[in-house]
Subunit: 139 residues, 2 copies
DNA sequence: ACAAATAAGATATGTTTAGTCTTATATCAA
DNA sequence: TTGATATAAGACTAAACATATCTTATTTGT
C-alpha cells in the first residue's frame, strides 16, 4: 500500500472537522485553508468521503462539510481505505490470482499477516483518539 | 511504503537462490526463467543486492549469482529495503521536516508506530523461515 | 434574480515504475 | 589469443499513477 497525498488530505480533513466539533458545518474554503489542502482537490476527496458516509456535504450558499457521526466511530483505516482502496502491501495478497502459486507461496503468507496486522492497528485508532492525543501533546 | 515489482522480484530471486542451496552458483538466465523475472531487470536488482552484500555476482562465462550467507541470516526486511529504501508508510514519518507540525501531530505518531511494527514483523522473517514454510505447505 | 457554494467531467503535468537497448567489461575454454 | 558466454552500467522509453487545475453545471439561501 501507500499513503498517497490524497489519503493524507482525507485524514487532515476529517481531523479538522472533528476538531471543530461533531455538528459543525464548515465551508470547503475553511477546511482547505486551515488544513492546507488544495481547494479543488479537497472537493474530490470530500465527495469520496461523503459517498462512504463519513461526512455530509451541504450544497449551495452557506454550505460545507460536516461529520456524519461522532469522531469515536470513525477510524483511520476507514478514512484511508475510502480514498486509496483496501490497504495491500503487495499485489498477490490483494488479488490471489496475480500470484501464480499463491497456494504454495510462503511469501504470500507473510505479506497477508503483515497486512492484517497493519489494518488491525489502523482500525483501532479513531479520530476521537487523535483528538485526545492532540490535547495531550499540546497540554 | 509500497512493495514495487522490483521488490517482489528481489524476494523471489533470493528465495530461489536459497532453494538451490546456500553455496550454489546460479546463472541469471536460470533465476530469471525459474523465478519469472525479466532478465535485464533482474540484472539491475541483483546488482543492488550484491552492493548490499546479500548475494555475490560472478562475472564472465560460467558466472551467475550466489547467496553471500546462510538463508537464516537474511531477512525479508533487509531484501526489500535494499530495493525500495526504508519502508515508510507516509512521507512525514520518514522525513519529519515534511510535516510542518510533526511535533504536535497525533497522526504522525500513529504512522510511526504502525511503521515500526511492520518493519519489526518483516525483520523477524528470514529466508530460512520461508523455505521451511514452503516445505510445510508442499508436504 | 443573484450570489455563494459544491458537483462533475475533461484536461494537463509531473513523477515513478517497469522495462528495454546499447555498449563495455570480465571470464573461461579451446 | 580468439571466440563464446556472461554480467555491468548508463541511457532511454512507455505506461501508469498521482496531483492537481479548469470549466461548466447545479444547488441553495437571501
Amino acid at each position: 500500500m501507500r499513503l498517497t497525498r490524497a489519503g493524507e488530505y482525507a485524514v487532515r480533513c476529517v481531523l479538522y472537522l472533528a476538531r471543530r466539533g461533531p455538528g459543525a458545518l464548515v465551508s470547503r474554503k475553511e477546511v482547505a485553508e486551515e488544513a492546507d489542502i488544495p481547494g479543488q482537490f479537497l472537493a474530490k476527496i470530500a465527495q469520496q468521503l461523503a459517498r462512504q458516509g463519513i461526512i455530509e456535504i451541504m450544497q449551495g450558499a452557506g454550505g460545507g462539510y460536516r461529520l456524519s457521526t461522532d469522531p469515536d466511530r470513525i477510524t483511520m483505516l476507514e478514512v484511508i481505505e475510502t480514498i486509496i482502496g483496501e490497504i495491500a502491501l503487495n499485489d498477490c495478497v490483494l488479488r490471489p490470482g496475480s500470484c501464480g502459486n499463491s497456494d504454495i507461496c510462503a511469501v504470500h503468507r507473510v505479506w497477508g499477516e503483515a497486512q492484517a496486522r497493519l489494518r488491525d492497528h489502523l482500525n483501532g485508532v479513531t479520530f476521537a483518539d487523535l483528538l485526545a492525543e492532540e490535547e495531550r501533546l499540546r497540554g
